[in-house]
């Protein structure tokens, strides 16, 4: 009964999306004041409620482990802890797509209920575009991946959830990315709306920006969390594998970063109009492509657990319709969007153009590297594309981008000269050079980490310079956001470079009582013993690790065996200090009572994720700053209007 309620709500929501599309499109066509326009916003709001209800029903059947529902039987197990039962609702293909449309519909509610800045006709077009995108996803859910499908005979017991996915961090990782993807779909709808009515204005950029910022924050968090998950859960000691699924989340992030900055130019200076629209289309294309790559299973990957060619073709068709349609619209309309304001090469706009172009180039490189194996496979050649491609080729474009990022925020809008900021530029350049020389003297560091370390140092200082000479209390929140985000990038870069430059690795076969050294750590194996959890058993090593002869810390890495479904995983153990992390893994028995213990000392590796979190925090600050400024502007306008009306009434009175 519960499942049927959810399914019915989903069908109704799909119908309302169609209504939203038709009303919005007709209202846009007819112009202001069409009666149907009144229906568009309520349709969006009601659709959001129904989608949310449907999703709640799915979580409910997972909570009670209703084994007559196919999805529950395939992905859950009565023995599983409750939080993983709930997370199981979106830890699979159907559930995650339902979550996607739910978030999208709720975003629709927010636009329909709150957004009043844009001309009504543009809003109608935007909502119509949003309904159109949603409709495709409803069709996908209802026709090819119904989450509420019943089994003819209820299963006796569930199949369980892949143990690699039974992890709190992971329970919240995919939804975070989806929020990001959905935010970009909203930005896409705004871009289409603006293109249809040719209203590519600073107002449009201001309305779109919070969505891009929000999406970008979620993508940043999602990528950061995903990287940390891969780091500690997969037990390989690496934090980024250039895996297709990782690239699928990186590409929308790159596009969103570019979009964020170009929308900033459009909002502040009314320049880069067509470019911003183009990026809006590209950013959403990348999130669709990401979904396609992950959900079709076309690229085999550690993460791709749901694979189905039919679904792949469905998403590919959706991709073709939306992206092809949007690009066609862009090609037809872009010429009629008039040129924006002009600016000099040495200006903040100029630096942001460099940022945008370089980000797009990096995006192109990641995209080609991700799709290349698919392309060659069509000719029956199997190749793997990995770090030897991505790292050096990416760096060629990332390095100039980081330099522009160091200088850009110091420049003024419209027209400036590097001469005005020569002291700051000289300081940053000197820092970068000094770091370059210092690091190459101190240790043998290969080229890429060397570049990374020196740029990180220069960028860290440069990112703080915009605060110089200002009263800190009066610096706008959005500027704080920029400073935090740029500083976070420098931190993350430092962590990445220092991890690849200074990591010490040690593999040893130890008898209980023996010890091994990794960097400044001395690790002693105390014992190996079996332990049991709710749905697994494990061999657990007890290690005492002491940093430079200090008080030992106990670490307990495990080799776990799950029984539903049967699978082995490696649980690493970590000892975190401010200046790095010790990473310990237990391997197989090495004969004669010895055990394989693998140790890594990774200096400053945690800064990668701390930096990522700081970047996200910067986004949050900017978002709050922008929204507050907008609310203030609204209330000022409202008060001014009230005062004007009052004045008019006073003037009008004596005439009566």
């Amino acid at each position: 009964m519960i499942a049927e309620l959810g399914l019915a709500a989903l069908w109704l929501a799909a119908a309302l999306a169609a209504l939203q599309l038709v009303c919005g499109a007709l209202a846009t066509h007819a112009g202001e004041g069409h009666d149907l326009a009144l229906l568009t916003r309520p349709a969006a709001i009601l659709q959001g409620g129904l989608a949310a209800f449907s999703f709640a029903m799915l979580v409910w059947v997972f909570a009670i482990t209703d084994l007559s529902v196919k999805l529950v039987a395939a992905n859950s197990h009565a023995m599983k802890p409750l939080v993983f039962k709930l997370a199981g609702a979106w830890g699979n293909h159907e559930g995650s797509m339902l979550l996607w449309v739910t978030v999208m519909a709720l975003a629709g509610v927010l636009i329909a209920a709150v957004e009043r800045r844009l001309p009504e006709r543009t809003m109608q077009a935007t909502l119509a575009a949003q309904g159109f995108v949603a409709l495709g996803f409803y069709a996908f859910l209802l026709l090819s991946s119904n989450p509420f499908e019943r089994l003819p005979i209820p299963a006796a017991e569930g199949m369980g959830l892949n143990p690699l996915l039974q992890d709190l961090g992971l329970a919240f990782h995919p939804p975070t990315l989806y929020f990001g993807y959905v935010g970009l779909s909203v930005a896409f709808s705004f871009a289409v709306g603006a293109l249809v009515t040719r209203q590519v204005t600073p107002e449009f950029a201001r309305a779109m920006r919070p969505w891009v910022l929000g999406a970008w924050v979620f993508l940043t968090l999602g990528i950061t969390a995903g990287s940390y998950w891969a780091y500690y859960e997969l037990g390989w000691g690496g934090w980024w594998f250039w895996d297709p699924v990782e690239n699928a989340s990186l590409m929308p992030w790159l596009a969103a970063t570019a979009l964020l900055h170009s929308a900033g130019v459009l909002a502040a200076r009314d320049a880069l109009r067509a470019w911003t629209i183009m990026l809006g289309v590209v950013a959403f294309s990348m999130s669709m492509l990401g979904t396609f790559l992950v959900r079709s299973g076309i690229l085999t990957s550690v993460h791709a657990f749901a694979v189905d060619p039919e679904r792949g073709s469905f998403i590919l068709a959706l991709l073709a319709i939306y992206i092809g349609g949007a690009l066609l619209l862009f090609a037809l309309r872009a010429g009629t969007v008039s040129e924006g304001e002009r600016f000099a090469v040495a200006s903040r706009e100029g630096a942001l153009v460099v940022n945008n172009v370089m980000l797009s180039a990096v995006l192109a490189i990641v995209l080609l590297g991700t799709l290349y194996p698919l392309l060659t496979e069509a000719f029956d050649v199997r190749v793997s594309v990995g770090p030897p491609y991505f790292n050096p080729v990416g760096t060629i474009f990332v390095a100039p981008m980081l330099l522009a990022m160091a200088v850009g925020p110091l420049l003024r809008w419209r027209q400036d000269s590097l001469g005005r900021v020569n002291r700051e530029v000289a300081l940053v350049a000197a820092l970068i050079l000094a770091a370059l020389v210092l690091v190459s003297i101190v240790g043998e560091v290969s080229l890429l980490p060397l570049i990374g370390l020196s740029l990180a140092g220069g960028l860290a200082v440069a990112s703080l310079l915009p605060l110089g000479g200002r009263t800190l209390r009066r610096v706008p929140l959005a500027t704080w956001g920029m400073v935090a985000a740029h500083f976070g990038i420098a931190m993350a870069l430092f962590g990445m470079a220092s991890d690849s430059a200074f990591t010490k690795e040690r593999l040893a076969a130890l008898e209980p009582g023996q010890s091994a050294e990794a960097g400044p750590w001395r690790v002693t194996l105390d014992r190996v013993e079996p332990v049991a959890g709710p749905n697994w058993t494990a061999l657990q090593a007890s290690l005492s690790a002491s940093y430079k002869g200090g008080e030992p810390i106990v670490l307990t890495p495990q080799a776990r065996s799950f029984w539903a479904p049967p699978q082995q995983t490696t649980e690493s153990a970590l000892a975190t200090r401010w200046n790095g992390q010790l990473y310990a893994v237990i391997g197989q028995e090495a004969g004669r009572g010895r055990w394989q213990i693998r140790l890594w000392w990774k200096p400053f590796v945690t800064w990668i994720w701390l930096g990522g979190m700081l970047v996200a925090l910067g986004g949050v600050l900017a978002l709050i700053g922008r929204v507050l400024a907008d609310l203030k502007r609204r209330s000022v306008t409202r008060r001014a209007r009230a005062r004007r009306d009052e004045a008019r009434a006073l003037v009008a009175e004596p005439a009566e």
Partner: protein
Amino acid sequence: MKAPMKAKHQRLTLIAIALVALIAAGLLAAWALRNQASYFYLPEQMRADPPAVGQAVRLGGMVERGSLKTLADGVTIAFMVTGKGDARVPVRFAGIVPDLFEEGSGVVAEGSLQRDGSFRADNLLAKHDENYVPRELEGMSEMQAARVAEETTVGLK
């Protein structure tokens, strides 16, 4: 100081810059990707046309039955990787092997060729779980591996 350009010229300049950067990125990527193709080797390729000693490459094939042994230090394993025919490459790996690594199954070893003709692996990619197979070896049994080896060799020329 240069005065700002006309709006129309500015737009054209921006388009030109963006196109140049994207085309440069595309060409660079294409060039680097072509080199990537030679980054993956099968045993017979490694015998016939070996990569430079010390160059980071991947070696893919099947772990020969009966060849896997652990050396006295307890952490180094040695095994033979076979492809089509009798081409075999001895591999040494010091590390914790993937959970489902075993004789007779597929493996991709990341590492470099040594002077003595053996392959020193820094990392082994084997079936990580039942859903994961290295892309190059997906769906292959020992026999098929040999056949694909042949096809891949043609393509890699």
